[in-house]
Amino acid sequence: MTVDLTAVRGRSFRARRPWGLWAAVAFLAAAALAGLCAPLVAPQAPGATDLMNSLAPPGTPGHPLGTDSTGRDVLSRVLYGARLSLLAPLGVVLLASLLGITLGLTAARLGGWADIVVSRGMDVVFAFPGLLLAMLVVAVFGPGVVAPVCALAVSYTPFIGRLVRNAAVQEGARPYPEAYRVMGFGGLWVTVRHLLPNIAPMLIAQGTLSFGYALVDLAALSYLGLGVRPPAADWGSMISQSQSAILQGAPWGALVPGLAVLGTVVSLIVVGGHIGGSIVKKGERT
């Protein structure tokens, strides 16, 4: 007797994955909406302190998720914190993509010495830990959002640059770019009009994963006091500021933003994995 295991696996795969994917997309959408609509839905101002009401537990009237050690409403700070916590990694990914695409395409199109110089340069940056680079930049320019975002963008550039360079070289070896050139189209037109769209899904997959990493790195910087300046709310600094309350049996100030980071990063991994999987399947089909 033989059993069609492929069919079983296929059904199981199709039956489970969409739920996880949709849950991840829903979580990300909710996080983005929370940031966008924070002024409308947050019960308190994010910086409103009340020392006499510090470490109020979740469920306290007016503070559904409790208060932190300065009496600030945890829910409101998590909602407002979504803005910086999501925008800053987005800035990292966009800036790194801009740099990576430019460098990758330049290396692929020019080839020769330009390719060697750009590729080795990216290797050097690749070898330097991004978080350490960001800490050095913060030490020079001071804490804030801009300096760490720029530093992390530089350190994330090689991941995208290498991907673009390799994909562009691969695409360049296929017949269509040469055919366009024979037809009289310029190299830049071919690159922008055809080559980039062909590698776009791969870039989106990498960008999604980089977003998750950047979020964790930026949260770590904020946790170390090197990120956003107080009293601005972001998830990393919220975890940092609430850690001592854990000793007092009041973990919610750190737990809630921690769950937000966890949920966002896991969702991004799921979505990024799905996009990556689709690319692989598409490649297998073609």
Partner: protein
């Protein structure tokens, strides 16, 4: 970036959250639930000896054990068990004989100090007058870089006038000088040993050579310093019960709490506040009134704080009740003046009367709003610098900035790392752009003049360049006033001007605290643990 490892990342994040959610079983320490801690004024004496006590230094490993460099909490805590001055502070800060038996003052400019004849260094060599002179002169040598040089501003001469006699002469009367005889400024080290060790003196390699109740045994860098009981200590009246003290350097508050609860450390001063309730249940969490004010110091009086109305508004925006009850969990008292009541030291009735005549500290946003409407600088941004490594001060600064925002005053927070905060006190460049500095200091002994003199014209710590002729006159007269009542009168005059001009804005005085496990006893926490052999009272219950 390493290849994507979602499972590992998720596991790490989840584990972190699990730790977050599972730790701490105590009820949340809400201000309403927290009872004000009791001040410890006496404890049962020890009844048994203890082989070894592990005492943690929460500020970390000291850079040196040289008394000249013992201006940090960590160094002072260890050096106080090793080295002695000419006198020691008693429980009420009166001078008690140590390496000196007493002093005479034939005139206001001269101190003739009689030295103990039976005192010896750990190696058995007797303490000589030359050792005393050399030790004090060594501290005054600018190349040594000692912090303890302020007392010598009026020093004229220092010499050995006998085998066991030292004479100090001043250019002008200075009533503060005698207090310094009990501080590290007069700690005695063996001159020949210090000279031979050179730069190695006080380091892990060479240690120190002093006379105190404990002798330096070893220093394993990054790990621990061990001192052992000096059985030849001159003070035979004191029964030193603990044979060996191991000092560890755990700085992380969570690791400190874990070490203290697990018994890896037997005790420490300055226990992380979040762990007080938990530790109080398993050992002795002790509190004592301190000589430490937490206050706002005006750093730039030309900018947004040039208008006195803005400074008064900021004072009215301090949530004193919240700070005392929530931030300090009741282990503090709000301040009306810079110098806390515990530091009056003499003429207490006079000080109290003047103190109570000052406005009671109260959070009053309406008053602040009114003051800001009169201020010409209310629209300007006030930059408030504070130390991020002191969690209590982070909370105070955050609360103040929010209270100010509610009445339309913009206070920009400038969090500083330990290095940046230290630089503020030594470098004008580091103070650039700072209007207001939140800090906690402490008086070395209960003499209000020591703090108020810092704000006279030209003083090193007068960062704002504050200058008031009347204030300077009060300080100058007080410095020469031998009679305590007369001195108090002058200091109170300066205090009133300070309260009026608000070049410093007092907030609260937090209690000194210490913890030791249930098997130990004999420690009454006082500010003077930094300069007295605090461990000699410790022993088994």
């Amino acid at each position: 970036m390493t290849p994507l490892r979602p499972a590992a990342l998720c596991a790490a994040l989840a584990a972190a959250l699990a730790v977050t959610s599972c730790s701490g079983s105590a009820d949340p320490a809400s201000p309403e639930a927290a009872a004000a801690p009791e001040i410890t004024t006496s404890v049962p004496g020890p009844t048994s000896g203890v082989d070894s006590v592990t005492w943690n230094l929460p500020a970390g490993e000291p850079p040196s054990l040289d008394p000249a460099m013992s201006s940090s909490d960590s160094a002072s805590t260890v050096v106080a068990t090793l080295c002695e001055g000419l006198f020691s502070f008693g429980p009420d800060y009166t001078l008690e004989p140590a390496l000196a038996t007493g002093y005479e003052q034939p005139d206001p400019l001269t101190y003739v100090i009689s030295l103990r004849e039976d005192a010896a260094f750990w190696n058995g060599d007797p303490v000589t007058a030359q050792d005393v002179v050399a030790s004090v002169e060594r501290l005054l040598d600018p190349s040594v870089g000692a912090a303890w040089i302020g007392w010598a501003a009026r020093l004229d001469g220092l010499e050995a006038t006998g085998d066991h006699e030292v004479t100090i002469t001043l250019t002008e009367p200075d009533v503060l000088v005698a207090n310094y005889f009990a501080t590290p400024a007069f700690n005695v080290v063996q001159a020949s040993y210090a000279e031979e060790a050179g730069d190695g003196f006080g380091t892990a390699r060479d240690g120190v050579m002093c006379t105190g109740p404990y002798r330096f045994e070893s220093w394993e860098q990054g790990r621990e310093i061990t001192v052992t009981r000096n059985d030849d200590w001159w003070n035979t009246d004191a029964e030193v019960r603990v044979e060996r003290l191991r000092f560890t350097f755990v700085t992380d508050p969570y690791a400190q709490a874990a070490a203290l609860t697990s018994g890896d450390a037997d005790g420490q001063f300055n226990v992380p506040r979040a762990a007080h309730a938990q530790l109080a249940e398993q050992g002795s969490m002790l509190y004592g009134r301190s000589l430490a004010p937490t206050f706002l110091a005006v750093v730039d009086q030309e900018g947004p704080l040039s208008d006195i109305a803005t400074r008064r508004a900021i004072q009215a925006l301090i949530d004193y009740d919240g700070i005392v009850e929530s931030v300090y969990q009741g282990a503090a008292e709000p301040l009306r003046a810079l110098v806390p009541p515990a530091a009056w030291g003499y003429a207490e009735d006079d000080y109290r009367e003047a103190y109570e005549a000052l406005p009671a500290p109260a959070y009053d946003p309406d008053l602040a709003l009114g003051l800001l409407s009169e201020s010409g600088t209310a629209e300007e941004t006030v930059v408030l610098a504070y130390a991020t490594f002191v969690e209590e001060e982070t909370r105070i600064a955050t609360s103040l900035a929010d209270n100010a925002a509610e009445v339309g005053l913009h206070i920009e927070l400038m969090p500083l790392t330990a290095e940046q905060f230290g630089a503020v006190f030594s470098s004008p460049e580091a103070r650039e752009g700072v209007d207001l500095l939140l800090s906690t200091g402490y008086l070395d002994f209960p003499e209000p003049l020591t703090y108020y003199q810092y704000f006279s014209t030209g003083s090193f710590y007068n960062f704002a360049g504050y200058s008031d002729e009347e204030y300077d006159r009060y300080i100058s007269t007080a410095t020469a006033a031998e009679d305590p009542a007369e001195r108090a009168r002058e200091v109170i005059g300066a205090q009133a001007i300070m309260a009026e001009d608000l070049i410093t804005i007092p907030i609260a005085s937090q209690y000194v605290n210490a913890y030791h496990d249930a098997d130990l006893t004999g420690l009454v926490p006082r500010q003077n643990y930094l300069y007295t052999p605090w461990a000699t009272g410790l022993g088994g219950r």
